[in-house]
Symmetry: C2
């Protein structure tokens, strides 16, 4: 049975563990703070690889940023990673094959293989966290686009420049559906910039009317985007993952979506592959790739 | 060399001709007004089929409405076709195989095989006409979704109910980017419901400032939607077809899209497969299907 040495490289944390062909983590993942320079990142990767590469068949890296169609390199610069990150030659870090995929695509693959979208012909996964990630799977393949950058949830919620997005443009879905967006929506509706995402969630739990209104607006924005995706992809299901997914009412969203779309009904599901779905997904992909 | 007896069934007109394997029309298409009942539609189809079925290998029908993944039947009811249209048993109309596909998907396939998106790994086609149609091709396959209904350009331009869409919902792309939408935008901006799409185009040609502003708003709305599609699909190109495509400035849209997206640059192109691209595309699909 194949095994993969897995990494998940994000803007603030790097995780690592070993994953088997069944998608099982062989030990509790170790956690590092993401260094502020590429040498620091490389050092962490190399130390883990030296320690474990003889035990595994492949090194599998889920990473922030778009990954090319060959799964060998990160394309261009990414907003929340260190300068020059894309210049890292991942292939040189190990004597074993190194396989890279975008973190949201990896997590979507884990949901498809062992989680909430298992058996789906067409599925869309949305990661609702600090930002919004996306992974789309069609006929047993991740939608990668011409260069590997597809699945970015930066479609517009308004055409007329209201809210700046982290990508530098305006009014992207991410700017209305992320955890950060919930805080911004609260700030706008309550005219109070100090309200946190946590305050809103706590207020909702306590039945606070203002916070319920803020939360509803945010959940309605999430729903609006899902309607568009459901009409474009006609998916079996849309999976919500990430730290904010636990707070949404998936049944309410599903009912609103299915009352609105022109395609056939879809199912809205909360992710089930767990917090380390990125490492699981990229490991499963990397091990399948060994057999090609 | 295979030949297909082709039909294009729309809400107001039905066209028919014979198409060869190179995508060539063997005679000038005949045109019928679409009857107001399904018996009338069947009568037209049968009369053409009786006349030509011995000369062809397959009957290929491009139609309004979503078509199932087996390309045998129309799914459910469609807004601009007669009641019960989906109950027609197309397979029974000929002794030759009958192959059906949605008209926008068919036109997208024609662009991909002999037109503007030839050679593209990922392409999106938008038909800007009375409504907005969509056809998406990924790795040599039309994106059909779980049931065949994918590619509907009913994603939202606003989350807060401003303009009714023909689909019964609110603020879909179609309601802002179609030819009908141009008239509505003119009505709103000029506070005059009598301005026609033709008036706007004529005004633009004469340098009328008001009409230029209306046209810019409409073209900006078209661009806004394309930005989202480019971020979702990372396509090689987006092809604009339909009666309104001739009026847009594709270079201007391309520049605006590429200045905004987080994926890699895409190309915006005007369709080249001609007015009968639906019949060409469905015929090519039907003849390829004979070989499977």
């Amino acid at each position: 049975m194949h095994k993969a040495l897995a990494f998940d490289i994000g803007g603030t944390k790097i995780y690592s563990t070993i994953v088997d062909e069944g998608g099982k983590l062989l030990y509790e993942p170790v956690k590092f703070s993401t260094p502020k320079d590429i040498d620091g990142i490389k050092k962490i990767l190399i130390s883990q690889i030296k320690k474990y590469e003889d035990e595994v068949d492949v090194v599998a890296i889920a990473t922030a940023g778009a990954v090319n169609n060959e799964n060998t390199a990160v394309i261009g610069s990414t907003g929340n990673l260190v300068e020059g990150y894309y210049t890292i030659n991942f292939q040189n870090l190990s004597k074993k094959p190194v396989f890279i995929e975008n973190d949201a695509n990896s997590a979507a693959w884990a949901e498809y293989k062992i989680g909430a979208s298992k058996g789906s012909k067409v599925s869309v996964m949305l990661t609702l966290g600090t930002g919004v990630g996306g992974g789309i799977i069609i006929n047993d393949k991740i939608l990668k686009g011409k260069s590997g950058a597809a699945g970015e949830m930066h479609f517009k919620m308004y055409p007329d420049h209201r809210r700046k997005c982290s990508c530098g443009s305006w009014d992207c879905y991410e700017a209305y559906a992320s955890g950060t967006a919930l805080k911004i929506t609260a700030g706008e509706m309550l005219n109070d910039k100090n309200v946190t995402t946590y305050d809103v969630i706590e207020g909702v739990n306590n039945g606070n009317k203002n916070m319920l209104a803020v939360f509803d607006r945010w959940q309605n924005d999430i729903t609006t985007g899902i309607i568009g995706l459901a009409n474009i992809f006609d998916p079996d299901c849309i999976v919500l993952s990430g730290s904010m997914a636990q707070f949404v009412d998936s049944k309410k969203i599903e009912d609103a979506v299915n009352a609105d779309i022109v395609t056939t009904p879809t199912s809205i599901r909360i992710a089930t592959a767990g917090n380390f779905s990125g490492m699981i997904g990229v490991s499963l992909l990397a091990m399948e790739n060994l057999k090609v």
